[in-house]
């Protein structure tokens, strides 16, 4: 646009762009409204952090009295004694089994979406939609699904069924996070591999996956931590069929878990039983929070390495 037409559009208007600026409207009121919004937004952030601290404190203050070394290395005894060794071991087993299924499939799905499907691929966008829908499935529904798929045909609840259900919870999280990370891998790496005549699968294995390793690991830890806290699928698929006082790790029978332990002790009649459940809640929460912080640290480090 030339200078002439710039000034031409102001002709005939009451506005003179060459006149010095003078304040109009109620500046004080506008500033006060803005200030009010800033204070409200700050208060909202303070509120959210306060809620987190209240939840953490509520669990820690009630659970800490139950904690001791014995609490994590002994099985429960009676209604209120002992610890949560078998539940802890069971959670680790079920989650590890689920992760073993979900993490590879999730990473492969992420690879398909970023490395093999074209940018305008209809199949890829259908798959993305499917992953979104899967991530939006209520976990209790996942439990019902696995109940129909595995528990009914086998006529018994099992750690196996619970692990499959957790895998379904983890899969969309893993696929989404690895897709995000793979998109961050610089295109120049792919082009360099192509220019050297490297086949795509070989480029994926030896160039792209190593570059994205930190981010994928972060996603894996977050997905695993999410699954470790799940209760609804285990309630449906793996809540009976084990001796609550013994270590039982046979995947094809019931396997105890920390979240089911908390769920099943909240209506026991003894105050000490509830204290034991708070102790279990505290252990579970600490494990999950530590995993989350760890994931963040790994992500920050790998970002540093990728120079961003």
């Amino acid at each position: 646009m030339s200078a002439v037409s710039d000034t031409a559009q102001f002709e005939g208007m009451p506005f003179d762009p060459t006149a010095p600026l003078t304040p109009s409207g109620n500046l004080r009121r506008r500033a006060a409204v803005s200030r009010f919004v800033q204070i409200t937004a700050t208060a909202a952030a303070v509120f959210a952090v306060a809620v987190l601290l209240i939840v953490l404190y509520g669990v820690a203050s009630r659970g800490a009295s139950a904690l001791s070394l014995g609490f994590v290395i002994h099985n429960p005894s009676g209604l209120a004694g002992g610890g949560i060794f078998n539940s802890l071991l069971g959670t680790l087993e079920i989650v590890a089994f689920g992760a073993l299924i979900a993490l590879p499939i999730g990473i492969l799905t992420g690879l398909y979406l970023t490395e093999f499907a074209g940018p305008r691929s209809k199949t890829a966008s259908a798959l993305r939609l499917a992953l979104d829908v899967m991530a939006g499935l209520p976990t209790i529904i996942v439990g019902l699904f696995v109940y129909g798929l595995i528990v009914i045909p086998q006529h018994r609840q099992s750690g196996f069924a619970g692990g499959i259900a957790l895998a379904i919870v983890m899969l969309p999280l893993m696929a989404r996070s690895s897709q995000e990370v793979l998109l961050l891998v610089p295109g120049s790496l792919r082009e360099a591999a192509d220019a050297l005549g490297v086949e795509r699968w070989r480029a994926v294995v030896s160039v792209i996956l190593p570059a994205a390793f930190g981010g994928i690991l972060t996603g894996a830890i977050l997905a695993t931590a999410r699954a470790a806290g799940e209760t609804a699928p285990l309630l449906i698929c793996d809540s009976i069929g084990f001796n609550p006082f013994a270590t039982s790790l046979n995947l094809f029978h019931g396997v105890p878990s920390v979240s089911m332990f908390i769920y099943q002790s909240y209506d026991l009649p003894l105050a000490q039983a509830v204290t034991r459940a708070w102790g279990a809640a505290f252990v579970l929460m600490m494990l999950i929070l530590i995993a989350n912080v760890l994931a963040r640290v790994i992500l920050a480090r790998s970002r540093g390495k990728m120079g961003r």
Partner: protein, 296 residues
């Protein structure tokens, strides 16, 4: 390698199809007995072989609505603070802390809600009733603080990090040129927010809210602890109720008969259709922002 990756994708789609199939086939006795009237019938009486999900769906809707109504303004305010107002160091600490709210397992929210929040709600319900009692939803306080309202508050805390984290990421994508331009014209921070930031991100924020709604609709464990397991519709939010997901969690382990189990699969089917709808809607609203790809 391509084959392997494609196979993984096929597996994802097959799983989804099978979810629907399992719910339909296991819910078949209830579906053929109650038909579509199941959704509106409010009598859930397994002992008399009468099951209707109306009251459960009402509880699901009301508790989720409370959560969305409270969490949306709060979440957006937090996101505005984190993206535009907080100093760098504060942002680096507060942002992750808010996201940690999403990491707390639902069983802990349920347990905490029952033991800590319920007595607190019990204390504030009479005040809310006398202040807002002219609206029928805020009736006389329940005796113990276990209510649809309490469930809504727990859900608020659970979906708050989803809405705030997604919105914050969206607000950060608003081009600095636009904001600086508005500031150069003399706009105050609120005018920049209202004139530039919110209009450019409104579709993405709406998608985040719908995503949070979907999460609230499907939450079972935390809700089952605090909603009261009463399968009837009460006008007041301070009365106990039940929700679809919570009822499955409460009754599935000990069903009355096989029809009861089938009815719960039917409830699950209705719930999954609603949740799939919210997932698709969220994606459709998000459009080009594609916020739903973010991992929390």
């Amino acid at each position: 390698m391509f084959g392997l990756c494609a196979l993984a994708g096929v597996l994802v789609v097959l799983t989804l199809v099978d979810v629907i199939y399992q719910l339909v086939s296991n819910g078949q006795p209830a579906i053929s007995k109650f038909g579509l009237g199941f959704v509106t019938s409010t009598r859930w009486q397994p002992n008399f072989h009468i099951e209707g999900a109306g009251a459960l769906l009402y509880g699901t809707a009301m508790s989720s609505l409370i959560a969305v109504v409270l969490a949306t303004p709060l979440g957006i305010a937090i996101a505005l603070y984190l993206s535009m107002m907080a100093p760098g160091r504060v942002r680096a600490v507060v942002g992750p802390l808010v996201e940690l709210l999403a990491a707390v397992p639902s069983i802990i929210y349920g347990f905490w809600g029952l033991v800590v929040l319920v007595p607190f709600i019990d204390g504030i319900e009479p005040g809310l009733h006398s202040a807002l009692g002219f609206i029928p939803l805020f009736g006389p306080a329940s005796p113990i603080g276990i209510s649809v309202f309490t469930a809504g508050l727990v859900l608020t805390v659970m979906i708050l990090p989803i809405i705030s984290a997604l919105s914050r990421d969206l607000f950060l994508t608003v081009p600095a040129e636009l904001k600086d331009g508005a500031a150069a014209l003399g706009a105050t921070q609120w005018e920049i927010i209202r004139g530039i930031v919110l209009p450019t991100t409104v579709s993405g924020v709406s998608a985040a809210v719908v995503l949070g709604l979907g999460r609230a609709l499907g939450e079972a464990i935390a809700v089952s602890f605090v909603i009261g397991d009463v399968t009837a519709i009460h006008r007041s939010l301070f009365d106990p109720g039940s929700s679809a997901a919570a009822e499955i969690a409460n009754q599935f382990p000990s069903p009355v008969d096989s029809l009861h189990t089938a009815a719960m699969f039917y409830v699950g089917l209705v719930l999954v259709v609603i949740c799939m709808f919210t997932s698709v809607a969220s994606r459709a609203i998000a459009g080009r922002f594609d916020v739903t790809r973010r991992v929390i």
